[in-house]
């Protein structure tokens, strides 16, 4: 047969139409669908079961979360007042205690800088700490400030700062809000159990403090659940011969006594007494930490880092990069 173009076209047309019909038939195949549908529905059932399992798991965890939330709402807030000032170890000290505070539920950190402005170092540290905080600042007047060469006990430190924090609490908190106030210096060491003891404060609670007053520890003496005296070797005749880290005050007590604050002009060692004597008597003190027999807080102090090489370099104008924050 002669290969005419017309024939080629006809054959081509037929082949393509057949191909198209075939494809359309494939699309319209009904028989396999039932099997496909059955297995798909089995799959759906399996997934449905898993979904319902996971949903009930979510409900359970939400309920548990709510319980602890309720617990959390009932837990009095612990306000830790930390005065701080710029020196080499400041950032390290604040980092360290923030890591301890991060474990404490319902915790509010009030950091008061001895500075005319809020410094970037402290602002950034607080923002990254993950804690609930209030950032305050007030500068100690020059006549009350320690000089570099002064021994650290010469003038009372942190007085203006702690008083500012008390003022902030009085302006920003209501009598109805349950809370406990604790003065936490930035170089001490706090165990986590301490905060459980702090939280149960009704008026003023007390406990031992380690490594203070020239002793391994200082502590209140307790008989029949009441404080009857103090185990302390240094100036034991003070009204309250205790360290700042050895007591906590109920927020309501501070709000009810709006005039109670630390006395700037108090004699050495009498700072704590200057606040407490207007709030509570010795009989009313609540002993904690197993009737004041366990040490849960230590009055540690950090060494001043040696900067001999740094000073030599700076004299030559080759000091370390000040933009690298230490």
């Amino acid at each position: 047969m002669k290969v005419k173009l017309k024939n080629v076209f006809v054959i081509y047309f037929l082949v393509s139409v057949i191909g198209l019909m075939y494809a359309l038939l494939q699309l319209g195949q009904p028989c396999d669908c039932s099997q496909h549908l059955r297995s798909a529905s089995d799959l759906m059932h399996g997934k449905d079961k898993k979904i319902s399992q996971l949903l009930s798991e979510v409900k359970r965890l939400q309920a548990r979360g709510k319980d602890s939330e309720l617990e959390g709402q009932a837990l009095p807030v612990i306000y830790a007042i930390t005065p701080t000032y710029a020196r080499l170890v400041q950032k390290a000290e604040l980092v360290r205690i923030s890591q301890t505070f991060l474990h404490v539920k319902n915790f509010h950190w009030i950091v008061v800088e001895d500075s005319p402005v809020k410094t970037q170092l402290v602002s950034e540290l607080l923002a990254q700490s993950g804690l609930r905080f209030t950032h305050l600042h007030t500068e100690t007047p020059k006549e009350h400030k320690l000089k570099e060469s002064d021994p650290n006990w010469l003038k009372p430190r942190g007085v203006e700062q702690r008083n500012l924090a008390l003022q902030w609490l009085r302006e920003n908190r209501e009598l109805s809000e349950e809370g406990v106030v604790y003065f936490a210096d930035d170089d001490n060491t706090y165990s986590l159990r301490l905060f459980d003891e702090i939280r149960s404060t009704k008026r003023v609670s007390v406990w031992p403090v380690g490594l203070v007053g020239g002793l391994r520890f200082e502590r209140p003496l307790v008989e029949k659940g009441r404080v009857v005296g103090f185990y302390t070797a240094w100036k034991p005749n003070r009204p309250f011969p205790m360290d700042m880290a050895g007591f906590a005050i109920a927020l309501q007590l501070l709000l009810a006594n709006r005039e109670a604050q630390f006395d700037m002009l108090a004699e050495r060692g009498y700072l704590e007494s200057s606040l407490l004597q207007s709030l509570v008597s010795i009989e009313e003190l609540e002993p904690r930490a197993d009737n004041c027999t366990k040490v849960l807080v230590w009055h540690t102090r950090s060494e001043k880092p040696k900067m001999k090489q740094e000073e030599l370099l700076q004299k030559q104008g080759l000091g370390s990069d000040p933009s690298i924050e230490v």
Binding site: A92, H103, G214, V295, R301, M307, Q309
Partner: protein
Amino acid sequence: MPKRRDILAIVLIVLPWTLLITVWHQSTIAPLLAVHKDDGGDSRRDLAQGSDSKEYCLSDRDIVEVVRTEYVYTRPPPWSDTLPTIHIITPTYSRPVQKAELTRLANTLLHVPNLHWILVEDSQRRTPLVTRLLRDTGLNYTHLNVETPRNYKLRGDMRDPRIPRGTMQRNLALRWLRETFNKNSSQSGIVYFADDDNTYSLELFEEMRTTRKVSVWPVAFVGGLRYESPKVNAAGKVYGWKTVFDPHRPFAIDMAGFAVNLRLILQRSQAYFKLRGVKGGYQESSLLRELVTLNDLEPKAANCTKILVWHTRTEKPVLVNEGKKGFTDPNIEI
């Protein structure tokens, strides 16, 4: 002028192809046809299931995400199967501030996931103080002890001054790691020497987790400077040391300034800190030179420009009143 016949011919050629192409575009038919070429109806069913299960998988994932975000914070964080374990080696010795130092270090470590604390006491026996403390923290720990020999010739309880403090304890921890972990095991781990009086940011532990051999970073308050740091060039390699005290040491770095991959420790099983005859400041080099060369060091902390660890030291407490007029009570632990 194209003839009607020609137009008809062109239309007849093009029409089936356009119909076919429009049908091809429908996704259901293309895979169906493709599969049908290879296999029977089974694979087509599987494929249909596959596309369905993809949708279900998505919804599974959504629900699982919800559950994860509802997780309640636990202390220490739950163990993860994907993070390498950080083995922290801390030598410690008995002194008044010991419990305080270990307490605050433990409070820091409790935030770090997949952490294993190896605490080595410089003592003849494991003390009850440390035993109780470790147990009460809830951390994953190993408690070891080895006593640095005392120099009895000197008056009082002085340790042999020829052996730098903490060396025997760190070496014991290294030996423990080598005896406990199989060289060929796939367990990933990082080893870090953390003294009990330093200060560590939580970011530091995440930086060291990606250590392949030995990673390094700056340390504050060492060598009489604000900080000492490795020198890093533009290519991200360590080429020297920014220190004043003997910058020509092989590794002019503090104990707190480097971390080693556990595999390297296990492979170089004879690498230890040199016990005797080590010049001041060369302790770290005595170990590192057996593990790695300068070129292999990995700089962390933003190419060694951030301070994530501070070599703080705690003042020795003044205990002048102890023993006076009956002021001593050994029953209360500090």
